[in-house]
């Protein structure tokens, strides 16, 4: 046995088998081009010269018994900070299919991911693989008793939703006849690109999304809107006619709002809405966080801060004495800024207290909607513990809030929007329509759009998920021009259009057999079933088996 000191073994020593992703490299196929090592975002790959002994039985004493052979191989760095993240960029660039990462469920890395006392952080998602609750809800009220089935391809479908405060009919008629103020209402596509900031996203990604959204609106007739997230909006967008497709977010750091307020006199149109962020499903109780790697010159200018510093937003708004007071003040202020022509609504994280916020909004005549972001929501950067274990699943939260509104007869007045895990396993339309039938007026999706429109590599097995570090191998969430130039905005725009066209067709494919075509089936819970008695009871839908 060798002495302990002669091998390196510290508490944090890991072998490649201890890592969550293990590189498989096939030397037979490797052409030694070196592309994998140069593309690897975390620098885990090393091309190394290695030597191996070639033992040989030789009888003649004039010859040496063994010879040595040198070869070039791949080494995987096992340092905690440089572990493979499984992004698969190496596999993508390898001309010869010689390398790829393999997921290792047995890792010991998780116990070491607290170096220097810093708890584990990541970007991306919650990492709960398998079918989500939304994936398990099916549409079982097929209209065949007395109806000819509708034809999704031939009939006209009205799939849009409303964002904005809707008056009770009596009050609407009274105000209209009296010529009084009617709150602004936008008719939009019920699948919304959720708030991802200019800062979290690269300029190319943002541009691609915006181009795609404009194309959906202006060419395809799908009124898609996208939310900015905290951090403002590029000035050229603020002064462009595309602003009407944008929901501007204001959050507790107020980043970017100087620019926005200054641009108001020059705006050609109003924004789609203003979203006041109070909370986020991925990290309730935390403010936004843009890590210093991503605070480039452009971002610094937009946000009015120095370059290369961490930009944490406080967990609460400075005005916050109570949520009631804050919501009231901020909603009123933001409404006033656009002369009461723009819907203003808060975004909160899913929570058992969502209902009390909602009831507060019901009494505020300027509140336009409520967006609830469930625990499966994504983020650019958060502590693992916040992402994994803090928050509330979206389905029961939305359902409870909706039924509460129904009990007051106000379900048409304050639309509830849902976010958090919609399409996380790819079933975006099914997930969204399930939430709509549970009572949501529409859904916000972030991760799905990054995956569908830009090829984000993230998965629920903690693949990649380094959006926080500015290393995004696809150039989606990086401010490094070397990385984001990989992403062609035109191609992103094309994929945005593809995605929304597909969602629109799928909405019709869901609505047609239910016999619905005249309006989005919000709250049509009689069409839902799930093979789980407890969930069925909790959501007040049908148990099926």
């Amino acid at each position: 046995m060798v002495s302990v000191r002669s091998i390196s073994s510290t508490p944090s020593s890991l072998t490649h088998n201890d890592l969550p992703w293990v590189i498989e490299h096939n030397e037979e196929r490797c052409t030694l081009c070196g592309r994998c090592a140069s593309v690897c975002p975390v620098g885990t790959l090393k091309l190394a010269y290695m030597r191996k002994r070639m033992p040989r039985l030789v009888l003649a004493s004039s010859e040496r018994g063994s010879s040595y052979k040198t070869f070039v191989g791949i080494r995987q760095n096992t340092e905690v900070g440089k572990r493979c993240i499984g992004c698969g960029s190496c596999a993508m660039v390898c001309p010869n299919e010689a390398i790829h990462p393999v997921h290792n469920a047995n890792d010991r890395f998780r116990f070491q991911n607290t170096q220097h006392g810093e708890p584990a952080k990541r970007g991306g998602r919650r990492n709960v693989p398998g079918a989500s609750l939304l994936d398990r809800i099916i549409f079982d009220r097929i209209s065949m008793l007395t109806d000819p089935a509708l034809d999704a391809g031939r009939h006209e479908f009205s799939c849009n939703t409303l964002l904005g405060r809707v008056l009770p009919p009596e009050e609407y008629v009274r105000r209209k006849l009296a010529g009084e103020w009617i709150p602004p209402v936008r008719e939009i596509f019920p699948f919304i690109i959720g708030s991802m900031s200019f800062g979290a996203l690269s300029p190319n990604m943002w541009l691609g999304l915006l181009q795609g959204v404009a194309y959906c609106n202006e060419v395809l007739g799908i009124p898609v809107v996208m939310a900015t997230g905290e951090g403002g909006c590029p000035p050229w967008v603020l002064k462009s006619p595309f602003l009407k497709y944008i929901i501007l977010q204001i959050a507790s750091g107020y980043f970017g709002w100087d620019e926005i307020i200054r641009a108001i006199p020059e705006m050609q149109c109003d924004p789609a809405a203003i979203e006041i962020k109070y909370g986020q499903g991925a990290k309730p109780g935390d403010g936004g966080l843009l890590m210093w790697y991503k605070v480039s010159k452009l971002i610094a200018r937009l946000r009015g801060v120095p370059e290369g510093v961490d930009l944490p937003s406080p967990p609460v708004h400075q005005t916050l004495y109570s949520i009631e007071e804050s919501v009231m003040k901020m909603i009123q202020t933001m409404s006033m800024a656009w002369n009461f022509r723009v819907p203003v609504y808060p975004k909160i994280s899913g929570s058992t207290s969502a209902k009390s916020v909602l009831n507060n909004l019901v009494r505020n005549p300027y509140a336009s909607a409520l967006l609830i972001d469930g625990i499966d929501g994504g983020t650019g950067a958060a502590y693992n513990i916040s992402m994994d274990a803090t928050g509330h699943p979206i389905a029961s939260n939305v359902r409870e809030c909706y039924l509460d509104l129904c009990a007051q007869g106000k379900q048409n007045e304050i639309p509830i929007f849902a976010a958090g895990g919609i399409g996380k396993n790819g079933n975006v339309t099914q997930n969204g329509m399930a939430l709509i039938m549970l009572g949501a007026s529409g859904v916000h999706m972030g991760k799905y759009i990054m995956q569908a429109a830009a090829g984000c590599l993230g998965s629920e097995q903690n693949r990649c998920n380094v959006c926080n570090l500015g290393l995004c191998p696809k150039g989606i969430t990086s401010q490094n021009p070397k990385l984001y130039r990989r992403l062609d905005p035109d191609q992103v725009a094309q994929r945005v259009a593809d995605t929304f066209m597909a969602i629109r067709t799928e909405i019709k494919k869901v609505m047609a057999p239910l016999g619905r075509s005249q309006s989005l089936p919000i709250g049509m819970s009689d069409a839902l079933g799930i093979e789980d008695r407890d969930v069925a009871e909790r959501l007040n839908i049908r148990y099926i088996c």
Binding site: R516, Q518, D526
Partner: protein, 380 residues
């Protein structure tokens, strides 16, 4: 599938003639029941005061009838006429029909100084109290309507046979309007309240087809805190309640009904002279948008009749007639049977944008298109 027949005429006629018309449409309907609403009544044996409330329903037991009498007395209603159906019991499928009720009351003296609106509210509350009483006693009392000039019958069985069983062919009761529908809600467990026509405060509708948007509409109406918006054993009951809501609660003209249940599309609203008002109305009444192939036939207290199509126009309905006499039916042969001597070339089958209105004078049809202006003075 439901078959619907409605006739309106200036001269009272026997409901039996409408039941015979339904026979003409028998192909394709299951004839599992009959729902009948008569309006503008005349009894052979009694000359009633047009303002007196008339109660229609069924007492399924003697005890229920006793409770009914007691309740009506306690409320101050005075029984003026009790229309005794000459029932051939053997022909009625259901065996728990102690007495079919069709009674004319004098309204309570205490209501003398009540406004018309208050009286109408009290009538509704009285009917609901009777219904509740029946429901609390194992459904032994069914109350269909309590309203001046309105009689309702709902029963299980073949429509014409029910008519004979109840003696409707005797000519002892006639009306200026008769709405008939030939089906019980066989999709679900049979419940007499689930059978069309539906009635609320003088407003009645019947529909064929299926209303797939039923659940959200029901949830919204139930949240109105209006006592009459209950029941919903049938997905079609909401059509009556929406008509009630639009005309009585919102106080909008009849034409607005169409805009509420089947609003125009954005591009159509953009061209409509009242597009701005209508777009807001569509948003405010969004939960009342119906979905399904439906033809809705309705009648109002003033004896106006109407026919509205859903936006998909997948259900047929025809209206035809002549001054003084009009018929609406889900099949053309139904109209033929009700008014054979009309000019058939003038029959009309409304399209998705139409509301057909037959005003109380019954002189001509009004065919109103949703694309046209409608009378809300300052609204546009």
């Amino acid at each position: 599938m439901c078959r619907l027949a409605m006739k309106t005429a200036s001269e009272p006629f026997s409901p039996f003639s409408v039941l015979q018309a339904m026979e003409a449409m028998q192909e394709g309907y299951d004839g599992s029941g009959l729902g009948l609403l008569l309006r503008g009544l005349s009894f052979a044996d009694y000359n009633h005061n047009p303002g007196d409330p008339i109660l229609s329903g069924i007492a399924h037991t003697e005890e229920a009838l006793g409770r009914l009498d007691l309740f009506m007395n306690s409320q101050g209603f005075e029984l003026k006429f009790d229309f005794e159906f000459k029932v051939k019991k053997a022909m009625i499928e259901a065996k728990d029909r102690h007495k079919y009720i069709l009674r004319v009351y004098r309204q309570p003296a205490a209501w003398k100084d009540f406004s018309q609106e208050r009286i109408e509210h009290e009538l509704l509350m009285t009917r609901l109290a009777l219904r509740k009483d029946g429901e609390a006693h194992g459904n032994d009392l069914t109350a269909f309507s309590l309203w001046p000039e309105v009689a309702m019958i709902k029963e299980v069985g073949w429509p014409l046979e029910i008519g004979i069983a109840l003696g409707l062919d005797s000519g002892r009761i006639e009306s200026r309007i008769c709405m008939a529908q030939g089906r019980q809600n066989t999709n679900y467990g049979i419940n007499l309240y689930a059978c069309h026509p539906f009635f609320i405060q003088g407003i009645a509708t019947m529909t064929n087809g299926e209303n797939t948007a039923f659940t959200p509409i029901r949830d919204w109406l139930s949240g109105r805190a209006f006592p009459g918006y209950i029941g919903y054993q049938s997905d079609s009951e909401v059509f009556a309640h929406i008509l009630h809501y639009v005309t009585r609660q919102l106080r909008l003209p009849l034409e607005a009904y169409k805009h509420v249940i089947t609003p125009l599309k954005n591009e159509e609203l953009a061209r409509h002279p009242q597009g701005d008002f209508l777009r807001g109305l569509r948003d405010a009444c969004r939960r009342l948008i119906i979905d399904g192939p439906n033809a809705v036939i309705g009648t109002l207290s003033d004896e106006t009749s109407l026919l509205v199509m859903d936006a998909k126009k997948l259900r047929p309905a025809t209206v035809g007639g002549k001054p003084g006499e009009w018929a609406i039916a889900s099949e053309m042969c139904g109209v033929d049977a009700m008014i054979p001597d009309r000019d058939r070339a003038k029959d009309f089958q409304p399209m998705r944008e139409h509301t057909v209105i037959i005003p109380p004078d019954r002189q001509e049809l009004q065919i109103w298109s949703q694309f046209d202006r409608f009378p809300v003075p300052q609204a546009a």
